[in-house]
Amino acid sequence: MMIQTNGLSKSFGGTEVLKTIDLQVAAKEIVVLLGPSGSGKSTLLRCLNGLEELSGGSVEVNGVRVASDMPARKKSAGFREIRRNAGMVFQQFNLYPHKTALGNVIESLLTVKKLPRAEAERIGYRLLERVGLAAKKDEYPSRLSGGQQQRVAIARALAMEPSVMLFDEPTSALDPELVGEVLEVMRQLAQEGMTMVVVTHEMKFARQVANRVVFMDGGIIVEEQEPESFFRSPESDRARKFLNQLSEH
């Protein structure tokens, strides 16, 4: 398994937002996380790379395991290793505004991998080519469209050569006409065999690209199915209700 959580739980203050989540993702699998707003999708994703502290259970990514009952030092070391192996793409892009497109992509190569600048720039340029933005390498994020920013963010995450990519609503902040270019890059990645966990409301993408849909509600995984059968005949009432609400829009 590329990703495995065992009894993962997460509370904020007194409220339990994730309740004993057991999620498994195989290598090269594309999993789409669906669920109503507030169901815990982002929190689950953020627990996978330690952006949220675990309240209980454990997370394992690419062979590195972190359990909530480990000493703090060991946990942060474990998550740091996981983060080198798991790229993350955020809804709000979170590009570094003080760095150019290329600067954003190569930052971790310089700082974390400590590559020489020339080599980092070579790698960064190739990644920008891959997302179709080589021509924009010297532009600052403020001069890029949302779609371009998100593609730079994907290139930045790819720079560490991750074995997993986590996407948290990567197209939700985009104008509708810019959604396609980002999904196209993600499709490409999927085809190249990247393991991906994607939170998205793009049903077409889920249908066409995902191997599996994981439906969450109220901090639990309610059901998991292949996309075709999930969209045709969801098992749970909650999933049915969710899909109905979506199609009303």
Partner: protein, 214 residues
Amino acid sequence: MNLLWDNGLFLLKGAYYTLLITVVAMFFGLLIGIVVALARLKGNLPVRWLARAYVSVVRGTPAFVQILIVYYGLVDYGITLGPLTAAYVALSINVGAYLSETFRGAILAIPKGQTEAAYATGMTPWQALRRIIFPQAARVAIAPMGNTFIGMLKETSLVSVITVTELLRSAQLLVAQYYVYMPFYLGVAAMYWVMSTLFSAILEAIEKRLSKVY
């Protein structure tokens, strides 16, 4: 007017000390400010509390009193500082507290997503601070820092009381020698004004250039 010209060199030397004290106090204040800001943001409870107490005490008492304590008060404990050293120490401690607030605010002004993006690519907290947060916070802090600098330039006149011959005390010495007030006081007022205005202009130019970068 002639009196002013004749003693111009003496006053310029005073201005030099005013500038020197300002620059030295700002330099050490900057270091103190960064350390205290980080202590307040990242330190454990006692460290945070200590940093807060420092800021609160310094901001809650007159700089004048602080200067007197450092120069005269410490003598009671066997610590005797020269006037210039005392001026450096007192003003560094003073400006450090204000700058720490500036830096803390600037660091807090950077969205959390920036740190998270840095962490997500494998950076350590220190790497994220150094490479991602500080450069952005510096831009936020530059304007208030400049105002602090100009404020400090004027505040240095307080150390005339501990016999540091900076600009104001140069004037006072001349007043005592010639028994005329106005030319000297107006003269040094003009010199303060020229320095403040000059630094304001420099600052504005820096800000403009920084805002062009991204």
